[in-house]
Subunit: 275 residues, 2 copies
Amino acid sequence: MNSQQLFDAILRKRSFLCVGLDTDIRKTPACLGGEADPQSAFNRAVIDATAPYTVCYKPNLAFYEEHGAAGFASFEKTVRYIREKHPDIFIIADAKRGDIGNTSQMYARAFFEQDLVDAVTLSPYMGSDTVMPFYGYPGKWAVILALTSNASASDFELLELAGGRKLYEQVLATSSAWGTTDNTMYVVGATQAAMLGSVRAIVPDHFLLVPGVGAQGGSLAEVARHGMNSRCGLLVNSSRGVIYADSSERFAEVAGEKARELRQEMDTLLTQYLK
Amino acid sequence: MNSQQLFDAILRKRSFLCVGLDTDIRKTPACLGGEADPQSAFNRAVIDATAPYTVCYKPNLAFYEEHGAAGFASFEKTVRYIREKHPDIFIIADAKRGDIGNTSQMYARAFFEQDLVDAVTLSPYMGSDTVMPFYGYPGKWAVILALTSNASASDFELLELAGGRKLYEQVLATSSAWGTTDNTMYVVGATQAAMLGSVRAIVPDHFLLVPGVGAQGGSLAEVARHGMNSRCGLLVNSSRGVIYADSSERFAEVAGEKARELRQEMDTLLTQYLK
């Protein structure tokens, strides 16, 4: 999928919502207790309920790896289910990988060779070696961490460099030369909405993956105001606020309602900013 | 295992060798073709041949994740085999993980809850949130990327900050306050041996995990000269140079010989620097 196709999907669904499948087995509703694989059963139900309102799913690998090989199988089952039932939906493996070239090549193969997902989140610390192997797969994307939504983002990402730029700004400036707006996206936390202006000054045309709306406190309207470009250019993620909105047997229905509410707000913002 | 126990193991074996189990299924010898799980069969043979000469194994997760759930199972089989046969050997999961707190907690559980490994490599980009959950497991370690051995380490790690320090130096200075010398180690590439002096100026007492000797061109003698402290303070990794030294049915035997040669050189260096 290229950036135009992603934008087309956003216009079609009137949504730039990404639902984060951070599926914590401790929080899955009691009614799934009898399932052989409650993690992927939970995901299937949430996916079916939210798919009309979302253009993207983002399973976070940590929540699957916690269960070792069995968890990895749940991850694979989940993404194959999305591919089969909702082939128009973009999938981001939130893995935050990053290694030297020959190792990054292995991660690229792991996620892209069998078309498991469309994109993988990557940490930029080790530089271009980390990212380049992911560009070997046409239509696939590298989603590079720039300014994250957590409190300790200030430890390093906000450090000022000798030239006056902050580290995250340099990450944007340097890495935007590695790929294109059709294969590179950036993670910019919604809790940093006010800094989206400085991000857009460096990467006006790239898609941004924006976590932190909801549980982490970011505001959707603020994100759109500072971050939207002429082709939307945003995927806003909500995880806990959607998938754990209810813990009864109505969990999937309520997840769908939460996604629909977010879509409604996004529809209004798309109308407001995309004249 | 704490740092004193690791040092004791080094003195006992006269070795600070870490063997990297970056097991690429394309490179496993033809003689393993009949194995149901050639990746862990290869590892078992290499482990048995090299264990007398090494104090640490470092499986790189990318090489296992490439094969999805089955690969993750090979990783688990490998580390359980080490635990069973060689319980005195330190295991580092080379995973280079890094995420916000609640997600890092999941990764910490994935690797430590069932005692799969002793340590996990972590990317510092997102700050302390990434690392703190790993400190919740006594005897376990966070191995933080500081200055890596790849060419593009210069993209960001070597950037000069407003205060005059380089980014990797600030990572060392800031993160060394998060934990202790009994639960924190740093990755410093052997290709950067000349910079080990600046590393030791900031973290004189921490263990350093040093990849890049051999295939990546780093020199063991240089690493020892610039990096060794009074309790050795080094784990030097060799992957390809040991495990792929031979591709015939003698692969394990030759891997053992290569590990023995490195041990011999390390023995000499330990004598030279630890009076």
